[in-house]
Each structure stands twice: as C-alpha cells, then as structure tokens.
Assembly symmetry: none
Homo-oligomer: 220 residues x 4
C-alpha cells in the first residue's frame, strides 16, 4: 500500500499555491519575524472546526495572531495541579511570554462540541465511548446559567449555548490570577466573538450588556 | 477607558476585508457546509505560533482542515484518567467523530515551545513561574532520544529537537488504541511536516527513513 | 417438514468457507471497524441482480462500500412527503450521515428491471399483477429522452435504455437539495458505471460527453 | 477541478484485480448466466452497511444471491397504494419473477439504522433534518414488542433491537399475500440471520423458539 504512505495530494497542491502566490508577497515578513521572533498583539482561543479558521476570517498576515484551537474553544478554570494542560499552557505562553494585549474567545454556529454536549445532557444513555470529548465538553455545564433571555437565545437553544459558552470561557480565563491582574490594569483585554458559519456574519460580545450583536462598524 | 472595551480595530478591518473579498467567493461553501455539516478529510495538529497557520500554508478552503493548535504541536500519551484533555478530545473528535483519513503533525522552525524546553533543560534555574508551559513542554523529554545523526540535526540542535518532537508526537498518537488500530488497517494515515518560517520551505517526514526532506513533488 | 425450516445449506457452506478463509485475513478490519464505526468513502447505488455484486466487481474489503441495491438501481426524485422511502433514506444515510465522497450509480447488462419496463411499454397488455415492479420501473419513463444516438445505443435498445437509466438516476439524485449543493462545492462526486455481466467489462460515464466508454486505465 | 471528474482510483484498482483474478475463474458462469438469465434460489434482504456484504459473508458466486439492501434491512407492510416502493418491488421481483425459494432477512451488529432509531426514541428533540432516515427507521416501532427476555437481549439493548427488527421484518413480509400463500405451501421459506461484524459470527433465527443462536453446523 505505497499509496498509504503518501502525503495528502490536496495539501501538496495547496502548499504549491501558497509557495507560488502568497509566499512571495509575505517573504519579507516571514524572514524578519524569523529573525526577530514573533510579536503578535492578539491571541485567539478558537474552535478546531474546519469552517472557523481565525486567519481566514480576520484576513490575518503571518505573525499577527497567536492561535490556540480546541473543541468548542473551551478552557478549564485555573488548575495548578502539575498536570499537562495544553490550552492553559498556550494561554500562559501568549499572555505571559508573548505579552499579547488582546485575548479573543471565538465561538461559531453549528458547533459540534456544543451539539455533543447538549445531546449527552438530554440523553445521557446515548453517551458512547467518546471519553475525552464527554469529559472536555462537560466544561460547558456551568455555562447553562449564563444563557440570556434574548429572544434569539430563547428560541435558538444551540446558539444560546454557543453564546453562553463564550461567556463562561471568559469567566474561566479570569480565574487565572495573572489574567485577572493584567485585565484590571488595562494591560490585557478579553473579548468574545461568534462567527456565523452559514452567513459569514461576525457577532461581538458587548461588554456592557453581555449580549452578542453585529456592531455597526462592520454592518455590511 | 472606553477604548479598553473596543474590539481590536485591526481585526475589524481584517474581517471587513474577508467579508468583502473572500466571503463572496466562498459563500456557497459556508452555506452548504453549515447545512450539511463539516466533512474535512484531514486533521492538523499544529503549533499556536502566529507564523505557522495551517490554512495559510496549505491554502485551505473553509471546511478542508480540522485544526487543533497548542504550544509546539504536542499531545500527551493516551491517558484515560477522566481529566480535561483538550488536545486528546480534539483528536478523538476529528478521528472518531469526523472520521478524518489523514492526521498531520506539523511543527515549524524557531518554535518558542522547543526553545523554552531546551533553555530549561540546559539551565533549570531559568524556570520561572510559567508552571503550565514547563509542565507541557516536559512532554518533549522522551523526544531527545529520537534525534537523528543527520548532518543538519547534529549541527542545528533546535531544528533537531523540532524534528524529534514531531516523531515523538506521532509515537504518542499511536498510544491511542483507536489510532493504532485504524492506522493498521490503513483507514487512517499519520504524517509529519515541518515548516521553515524563515524561507517558507515545507519538509515532510519520510516514513521509510524517518528523515525530514523537501519532497521532489514540491521542489520549487 | 423439518426441511422447510432449515437454513439454506449452500449458504451455510459458503459461510463456513468465509469463516475459515477470508475472515482470518480480515478479522482485524472487522474488529476495528466494529469499534470505531464504519467509514466508507464510496456509496454504490446498484441493482439487486445476482450477477452484479459491487463488492465482487470492485474486489472491496469490509468497510469500503456503503451499498444500496434495488431493481435497476433507480431512485425517485426528491419527494419529502413523509412516506417510507427506503432508497432515499439509504442515500441520506450515506451522504449526510457517513459523509461519503463518491456516489456511484451502477447499472449492468441484461437488466431484468429494464427489460420489464420495455416489455410493458411495448405491450401494456402484458402487465400482470406485478403492481410494485410496474410502478417502480415506471421511474424509467423520463429516461427514454436521455438515450444517445451512439451507434451502440441505436442498435442495442436494451443497452441504450440501461445507459439512459443511469443518466436519469443521476439527474434524480440532483433533485435532492443537499446532493446538488455538495456536488457544486466539490464535496461529493456523482459517477455512472455499467457492468457487462457477459464479458465482465466495466464501462464508465464520461462526464464531458455523457457517453459510456471503457476507460484506458482499465483497458485489459 | 479535473480531479473532481475522475472515477475513484480505489475502485479502478479493485476492478483491475477482479478482472485479472476472479473474472477468469467465473467467466463461464457470467457468460452462461448472461445468455440464460439469472436463476438465483436465494434472495437476501440485507443492510447497506459496508461491513455486511452478503456475497462476502456467504462466499457467493455470481448468480447465486438476489440482493436488496437498504438501511437496517427493513420492509414496510404490504401497501398497494401505487406509490414507488423500491424494497417491495425488489421482493416482488425476486419472489414472483425469479421464483427464489429462500428469502433471508439479514441484520448485523452495531447497525447505524437501529442506533439512529433508538437515539431519536430516547431523545426526540435530537432529531435533525434527516427526514428520510427518521421516517424509514420509524418502521422499527412495532419491533420493540418483539424483544425477547433472553439474558442477552435484556442486557444488550442494541442487539435486542437488532434481533427484534429481523422478527418484525419477517412479519411484515407475511403481510404480502403471495408471500404468505407461498410459505404456507412450502414453496418459499423465510429465514432470519444476524451477522456479528466484530467477531464474524453468524446467528440464525430458530423458527421454533424465535431465538437467535449460532447453529451447531457452523460452530467453529
């Protein structure tokens, strides 16, 4: 099965396109950032979903976004237990090491992680052998208390849970002592964003109202 | 401090560009993939580094790549201990849930996670309060045994460690019983790739030799 | 009548052969695919004819082909009327549930379903009490408009109708909104194939010309 | 996207293997059965699952098995309403047209159709837009009354439902007047079989006890 050992041809074609078209435009950026090191000002905690790539949605250039992606863009509360915490380590790396000024928690519509959580909540007996996913999405439990009485959130439970999840993740981030402190002295800003993978609309979390809306600045 | 509550303007401008230029071209993909669900064939376990975005390097369209990113593209060995394992959950979601056929572990040059590990190894006294990062990068320890005696790996210790790390992560992935099983019956393929953020070159892991080379197919 | 209650001995012998010869070779595939779930990349809509088994003709291993078979490999146009549609349900299961990437409509020579249709068309008085068959094969009516003026199709009316039937079934498949959408964004490919049960030749539908030919790749 | 128009290479390779290896051995069978027409003695109503191909499990030669496959091997009760009934038409074709002597309803383990039915039954709100599947699997509802108090059926609900489904399908087949009549005069035999896709074991329905067991004849 030689074929079984080949690198996906689709990726090779995609790389060739990058190398021939985009790389020439960005070569100086890559070169300089390789020598001076990366200096992103923004970190994005996003979802692994194939339809929600931060660099695509924000048209980002190399070096602009430090990105950690996992199922549903979640993070456990601060837990200094000496275990392997990949997401927490990435956040520590971005906030403490790279000193990013903005940390954006980015969710999206039709999130499979949210759907999986709701399915198991509604029918626990359906839970299969997906041990890691079940445990990971159980981080969503407290988020249910953060569902708003928006018309939209009342009628669209999936989206309501997606919004609430972002609010919960931001709360979890604030359990990290250095994040709380940096935010208090305005050295770090936490943001919430939700991308509608169907329409391409971007909703932002209004820190005053706690609601998600499409801000005027980006109204089509 | 109203300003402190604004969404990063750079991201708003980037989104506007996406909305005006790329979204119109991809709108049908987004719409269809929202209705039918994502169906990526490839999963990428990459690094959070701002200079190594998989969608950029592989010129990927929405829906093509299921991506998990953390510091240094690492994964702990299979550990069904009921703890929150974000990376393992994402891998379970991609391999078992989405049934991807390819899983690419993608490292890159000048990786800060690798540098941090090597610095602490050589000068433990350097270790600061970055508890999560130290613990996370300690996953690299066994990788040192996987450094090859390539000329390049002997002279460039950083790159040697980056290559070895990818080999180690692939070994760790094989400790997941379902990954090992699916690979054995040729239903899942594991690949290794390394991106040179300075030159834009892409190296691939040769499964026969265990070496990283720039394959002829993509030779400039 | 004990005999009347015995399982066909031919099947028992055949199973014994499978159990002793092929099962040992495929046992790991069966075991793994039982634990991880099936992940076929291709779905085949074929005919129930005993001489046209897809797994035999494509030498398929367990788990490779999701197969729906009925008389003449037909499918009614999209009809969301809440009735029991077995073929449409299977197509929905394969395309939406299993996310197959290829859907092959496979017809064959000397197809009894096609013969029955042509006989009733030419001599309605022949129609007997085979109510289900007559109604089912009436799906072939619009296919007559898709007969080409190939030399072969002009001289061999049965084969011409078999080819046209495959073209018609593909058109009917495109009346399913999600099939049409997925095909438009290149996430699903529809193919046509015709198997000559007499010679064992495989003809493929050329999407450019709409003609059936034996492609060079598989020329003996 | 020329690639998008290619026939799956895996199928082309599989066909080449069939043409070079098996076809030569079966060429006379194919040739004769093409000229004389098919004359299978057994019809199998099986599932579309990629792991349960009747020709493979029964090591069948071309012409031996007339096979209809749909999701979960179901058939609606006799309904002469003039609608398009693909499965009923295939059964009519096999029993009345080809005069098969045996009709085997064959289920299998880990059946996705059964799982889907049970999931929606336990959590109706989870039902998505899979309109055809939901309607089709609703044929399983009456089968719940046919679950036995076997130790196995009591402890393994999925398997119990798979067994009950086969019993129900056989009952539905007997609502076809000609099937009932032919069975009464011992001209047609209805059988039930269940294939364990994990171990490869074959269970048969004992017509006396109504239980599924591995018969001595095929005990390993």
């Amino acid at each position: 099965m030689a074929k079984a050992h080949e690198f996906p041809s689709r990726l090779l074609r995609g790389y060739a396109t990058f190398r021939d078209q985009r790389l020439p435009q960005e070569s100086s950026r890559y070169k300089v950032l390789a020598e001076t090191g990366q200096r992103p000002r923004t970190m994005i905690l996003g979802c692994s979903d194939s339809r929600a790539a931060p660099e695509t949605i924000f048209d980002a250039a190399p070096g602009e976004l430090f990105v950690v992606r996992n199922v549903a863009a979640l993070v456990p509360p601060f837990t200094p237990d000496g275990e392997h915490h990949g997401t927490s380590a990435a956040i520590e790396f971005g906030v403490m090491g790279l000193k990013v000024r903005n940390l954006v928690v980015m969710g999206h519509g039709r999130c499979g992680g949210i759907t999986a959580y709701m399915a198991e909540r509604d029918a626990p007996e359906l839970q299969g052998s997906n041990d890691y996913i079940s445990k990971w999405t159980s981080l969503l439990k407290p988020a249910e208390a953060l569902i708003c009485d928006d018309p939209v959130e009342t009628t669209d439970r999936q989206r309501a849970m997606e919004f609430a999840s972002i609010r919960q993740t931001i709360e979890n981030l604030r359990t990290f002592p250095w994040i709380k402190s940096l935010e208090e002295i305005d050295e770090l800003e936490l943001h919430g964003a939700w991308f509608d993978i169907s329409t391409g609309e971007l909703y932002l979390l209004d820190k005053e109202t706690g609601r998600f809306t499409v801000p005027d600045e980006i109204e089509a």
